[in-house]
Symmetry: C2
Subunit: 314 residues, 2 copies
């Protein structure tokens, strides 16, 4: 199986490193001056980390080639990952070109951060083999990929894409309905926008915002997401208690983001969701598990937090 | 120095454990039936983790007492931490009572998640000794405390409060201007509200939202906050490149949260902030540092992620 990578920025080079490390042949293309050299350098930098996570048999940086022309890069590929800048017209143009030169059965994944697959596949000749497959930087370390089908994507091709990303050791999250920003970037973008508001209004510096996150909630989010974190903060009552305690705060201006109405339906989805996720573990087992993790994480992260500036406010 | 803890829910009991572990005498009070027993149990549960982080000389669970009456608990205290439920009228009533019975020079901190200190100190006889001091669950492990002064708080008392929280091994973030939700909870609440929208609209289950976070961005946020994370995602160009690449996305519906205008002023604050935070480290040094951390974290967190359910979508 042969992989083509179209666009060799930070994300494209991250994919290349992961795919080589998992034992695939990769051919890359990018029209920018000096792209080939930057790509080699990026792969060299990422390689020791991919190695630390474990290389597949036969994996080698030597199995990477570069083509100047997109057509040459994609023509023999079984799988093509597109990573050009986040501009819809540009992505559409490049995808059109991939679609034209690739084998009709080759799968095409787009790394788009926020554009919906139905829009990107609209003008393809073979739209049924197109998915959004959105990874996270650094791609050769972080395991998550969001796979989103467009209206014209076939179920069979979604399954093929899922199997492919699993073959390169990723955790595939199939997004049920397409939406701008998919799932993860909606959360990241919400944090980002609120952070910008805080800096814009002079409440805190960028460093203070960062520390408000990394020294508290950010530590928790490596293990449990927003729902289980709140479930655990509720003590024995879990999410039921939290919604009673903090449900009213949804009406307050604690962020610039307006909340949905906490209807019975939403309440039930959230409470039963958290209870199902706990997967038979009692609150005190979950608590114990989180504490053991946090103690070890806190020990670890102190080696890696950025050094304090001389005159810091934290 | 003697500490009083008013309100022994999840947060109050977390404070008690941290303060005992740091070698203080603590007296607690809570009017709820069975509060004393639940408090003892919570301290027993948290103690091994406080121990793992290191106990101060002479620290002992035996130095904890419980008083039925608030007046008895606070009358000899030098420092009082209030942790009653997040209902403004209730907090005001309890703080009024603390203010009345405590020594006039005793410091009072409130754990409120979102209420501004000026509102809480309004009707106190000695408002100058009141601060918001907002910790993160579990309080005996997570180091962050946001300290916020109200209009009537004196600078001297802010300094006293800062010194006290530092004496119990916390990282004090002095919030420059009071604002609903302080800093960290504005970010947490933004994530929470966007997560609720996603579940409400049937885009994903609570478990899928959690995994979209913990298997990707959540891993990064233990080390670098929202600003340095984006700075690092920009490659050699750092935040300058990111704002060029993703600035336009601020206008898109990638979250329900509206972004501020990306003015020159905001652009400069964000770029120069990130450059200052890097503290002389080059992009590739920051990158290397993040990768080393992520490899070790990924190894660690896999032991602690919740077990998969049988029919999961991830």
């Amino acid at each position: 199986m042969k992989i083509a990578i179209v666009g060799t920025g930070v994300i494209g080079n991250g994919w290349i490193t992961r795919m080589l490390a998992q034992g695939y042949d990769v051919v890359a293309t990018d029209p920018a001056e000096g792209a080939k050299e930057r790509m080699r350098q990026a792969v060299d930098q990422g390689w020791p980390f991919a190695e630390a996570l474990g290389l597949a048999e036969g994996a080698s940086k030597e199995r990477l080639t570069f083509e100047k022309e997109l057509a040459d890069a994609v023509k023999d590929a079984d799988f093509i990952q597109e990573n050009v800048p986040e501009v819809e017209e540009l992505k559409q143009k490049v995808l059109h070109s991939i679609d034209e030169h690739a084998k009709p059965e080759a799968l095409i994944g787009s790394s788009t951060s926020g554009i919906m697959p139905s829009e990107l596949q609209e003008n393809l000749q073979h739209p049924e083999r197109f998915v959004v497959a959105h990874p996270f930087h650094p791609v050769y370390i972080l395991p998550l990929v969001e796979v989103v089908a467009g209206k014209q994507t076939t179920l069979e091709n979604v399954e093929r894409a899922k199997a492919f990303y699993e073959s390169i050791n990723m955790r595939v999250l199939l997004v049920r309905h397409e939406i701008e920003g998919h799932i993860a970037d909606r959360l990241i973008e919400a944090i980002w926008r609120e952070s910008l508001h805080i800096v814009n209004e002079g409440i805190a510096t960028t460093e203070e915002v960062d520390k408000a996150f990394t020294h508290g909630a950010g530590l928790r989010y490596a293990q449990y997401g927003p729902f289980l974190t709140f479930h655990l903060a509720g003590g024995e009552g879990g999410m039921r208690h939290m919604l009673k305690q903090f449900g009213p705060a949804l009406k307050k201006p604690w962020t610039k983001l307006e909340a949905p109405e906490l209807t019975d339906n939403l309440y039930n989805k959230v409470v039963s969701g958290c209870e199902a996720q706990s997967n038979g573990m009692s609150m005190s087992e979950l608590d114990q598990n989180r504490n053991e993790f946090l103690i070890r994480l806190y020990d670890l992260v102190q080696e890696y937090w950025p050094k304090e500036q001389e005159k810091t406010n934290v």
